[in-house]
Amino acid sequence: MNKSNGEGYPNKPVQLIIAFTAGGSSDVQARIVEKYWKKYFNDQPLAFEYKPGAGGQVGFTEIARAVPDGYTIGGVNVPHILLQSLSPQATFCKDDFVHIAQVVNDPQLIVVNPNNPIRTLDDFIAEAKKKEGRMTVGIVGTFTAHHMALLKLQDILGVKFNAVPFQGSADQNVALLGGHIDAIIGNLNDIMRYTEQFRMLAIASENRHQWLPDVPTFQELGYSFTSDIRRGFSVPANTDPAIVQRLREGFQQICNDPEYLNEMEKIGQPAAYLSGEDFTKYCDRYYEEAKQLIDKYELNKKN
């Protein structure tokens, strides 16, 4: 097809694989991108295809194995794809994807129930030390961004937690609301709904977030700790570089469209554009870090 160059691409509808269910955060975000897609890509429609399952692995595998002609792109989540490629049941590796752009950076926070006397991160650390590893911290699944964040946090803060894994952020939030667990590691996007019910102790991003200007970063409090979930778009490896270039340019335009940014704020997802090259660099860095962490805690050990 368009082997030679990116000229004229796209000349037919482009398929977009979403690795989560319709109506999920990834889908909602991609729907916003869809609104502006036609404007920057020759007026061709974007056809959604949902391949949910296995924490995104089914869909990501589908993206990695798609025909690399540029007419199948996929929404990817980091660190999901990186951690899944590191697991013993991996069905793709991290180099199976060529990243087009990062669109969302959803930082993680430490959150407690306000009925709890804990007010600051220092209180939290003191309490955790007092409880000698019995402080319950809710995370989402294992071998996930939340799990990695918890393990990293244990090292950085020098305490031990009792991890209580949940199936999703909704369950995790309910358990915290009901006071069944002491704290959670949650994402900004999921927490925004409960800012009045929860007490946010610290945010794991480099700078304070504009939506939560009163919540200090870990950096400010003296701990070098960042953790987040990022959403981006990718094509399978071996896609024509010219097409990749065309896609990267188009996404850059979409992501800087003021109307697009407005809508992203409305849906409560922290938009943060990164070019494909920078996103790839970030992924490589995270991959190395996670590999060390997994080896250290022997997460891949059988039995």
């Binding site: 109506g23 399952g53 692995q57 049941q89 358990a175 925004m192």
Partner: protein, 562 residues
């Protein structure tokens, strides 16, 4: 609490009654009924398919329509369960138990009518609960942590004993097989793949939709090919509407199932499927004639259908109050909220009050629409059983396949459904009940998750289950229920003229019980005539006399009513 609700609710009605909103509400209800009727295609996929419409529509009509699909599906799900023994939704699986038995006796009409009426009563009553007590109730639901869910799952599992049919061992085998099915795929917490045989598709597990389509729809198609006769009842329909007596009998069942469905529905994770089973079991315990359950007891239909509708309204409480979806369909609906930037949660009631109240009002209106829509349809649906089977079979097959396919847009799920069809057929032949399997398949994930969380919270110990008042209470209740059902079984077996005598499969026995003293009328000799069906005037319980109609061979394909 209370009075200050009326003002916004009235405004909500004013909004919901505008032609545009009314129209979209109606479309939602019709679509809901339709996807409910079609086996396999559930409200979840229907809402997901229509979600892109939210890009065009205003928030209020769009969410009204999508919600209509959700509760409308609960009305439709019972239709095929009653008529052809294929539940349109998982939540209608218990409806099939008695509904289909009623249909076989020519009482499809009353069964359909009662399920619509029960849905309406339960749906509306629980909406009242949603209207007046949403914030309070949401707080109540928060008291349920992982140990409480664990206890609740144990309670739900105790239902298996009552669903086991003739042999307890076979019932339990079916239940454990449900766990086997649920274990395929990733462990719900650690994400480690189990029993996937290296397949990526199987990593996301076996979807309930394939299981239920296989065990019911495809197994049904296989079994009827075997018999080479029409499965659909040739009995004359005896009246389309329920009698006064039916209504009187089922009314308490509707109320009980409303309470059960609504309160369990407040808990995230308790899907309509779970609550319908629990309500069905409860009704059996309350009944003076528990033996008649499974043989066409109208109260069983009312209980199951009431509970699943009450659960749908109950589910809106955590959704609107905390933004917590209690099931996959509501999760997709939550996505719809997000598309509009409507952040559900306590602030929703303050910031977007007109929208919330219009939605709640639209649900009252929707329930009225649904019952107006469904009651006249009964005649039409009941006539569906007259469609010649050679034409009906392909329709069942096509909608089953599409339903299974739409789970993940993969043929894998269709193949799984076919495999379960074969398993379901074998189970029927071997007299292993399939209902416990479905129940445990629904429960397994939540059970495993809650055990793990309880253990994690209690530092590897299970003691939390017994040290927290709510979970301890539920545990004791579960234990009592288990003992009472086991005792009930023991008593039934030691009764003279036990089940075995009734098990000659080809004969269908109607109930010939005197209501006040449940003494079985022993079958007489002529009843052992092979392949014969004997009929009894059903409404005539007072006389305790079985009016035996003429005996006809089943192969003749026609039965004479009285």
């Amino acid at each position: 609490m209370g009075m200050d609700v009326f003002q916004p609710l009235l405004q909500g009605f004013a909004t919901a009654l505008t032609p545009q909103n009314l129209c979209f509400g109606f479309i939602g209800c019709v679509l809901g009924t339709l996807v409910g009727v079609l086996p396999g295609i559930g409200p979840t996929s229907a809402i997901a398919m229509l979600l892109p419409l939210t890009l065009i529509l205003d928030p209020t009509p769009a969410i009204i329509m999508l919600s209509g699909i959700y509760y409308g599906a609960m009305y439709g799900g019972s239709t095929t369960a009653i008529l052809v023994n294929i539940p349109g939704e998982i939540s209608s699986a218990p409806t099939a138990l008695d509904g289909y038995a009623m249909a076989k006796k020519g009482r499809a009409g009353p069964a359909l009518a009662i399920s619509a009426i029960s849905s309406f009563v339960a749906g509306t009553l629980s909406l009242v609960g949603l209207t007046f007590f949403a914030p309070t109730l949401a707080q109540l639901a928060l008291h349920f942590g992982p140990p409480e869910y664990f206890a609740l799952m144990l309670l739900a599992l105790s239902v298996v004993i009552n669903l086991s049919g003739k042999s307890l061992i076979k019932g339990l085998i079916s239940a454990v097989a449900g766990f086997f099915v649920a274990m395929v795929g990733m462990d719900p917490i650690t994400g480690i793949a189990r029993f996937t045989f290296g397949s990526v598709e199987l990593m996301s597990g076996i979807d309930f939709v394939s299981v239920i389509i296989g065990l019911f729809a495809i197994a049904e198609v296989l079994s009827t090919w075997e018999a080479q006769v029409t499965p659909v009842i040739r009995t004359k329909l005896t009246g389309l509407m329920p009698t006064k007596e039916d209504l009187r009998e089922t009314f308490p069942a509707m109320l009980r199932s409303t309470v059960i469905g609504f309160f369990l529905g407040l808990l995230p994770g308790c899907s309509p499927g779970v609550t319908a089973f629990i309500a069905y079991d409860t009704e059996k315990r309350f009944s003076r004639v528990p033996e008649t359950f499974g043989q066409g007891q109208i109260a069983g239909v009312a209980a199951a259908e009431g509970a699943n509708n009450a659960t749908t309204s109950g589910g809106f409480v955590p959704l609107l109050s905390f933004g917590i979806p209690s099931g996959p369909a509501l999760a997709v609906l939550l996505g719809g909220f997000m598309m509009y930037g409507l952040q559900p949660g306590p602030t929703l009631f303050e910031k977007n009050a007109p929208f919330v109240w219009a939605l709640i009002a639209s649900m009252y209106i929707g329930n009225v629409m649904l019952i107006i829509l469904n009651l006249p349809l009964i005649g039409l649906w009941a006539r569906l059983v007259k469609v010649p089977y050679p034409l009906l079979a392909p329709i069942i097959l096509i909608s089953s396949f599409i339903g299974a396919y739409s789970v993940r847009n993969k043929m894998m799920d269709v193949w799984l459904a076919i495999a379960f069809g074969l398993i379901g057929w074998l189970m029927r032949k071997l007299e292993i009940p399939s209902v416990p399997l479905i129940l445990t398949t629904i429960l397994a994930g939540m059970l495993e998750t809650s055990i793990k969380q309880t253990l994690s919270m209690g530092d590897m110990g299970i003691y939390l289950l017994f040290t927290r008042p709510i979970s301890l209470t539920i545990c004791i209740l579960a234990l009592l229920l288990t003992i009472s059902s086991l005792y009930g079984r023991y008593k039934k077996i030691s009764l003279p003229g036990d089940d075995e005598e009734f098990s000659s499969e080809s004969i269908e026995y109607p109930e010939v019980f005197e209501k006040k003293s449940p003494v079985l009328v022993k079958p007489r000799r002529y009843l052992h005539a092979p392949k014969a069906v004997y009929l009894v005037r059903e409404h005539d319980r007072s006389r305790n006399v079985a009016k035996c109609g003429s005996l006809r061979m089943r192969q003749a394909g026609e039965q004479v009513q009285r």
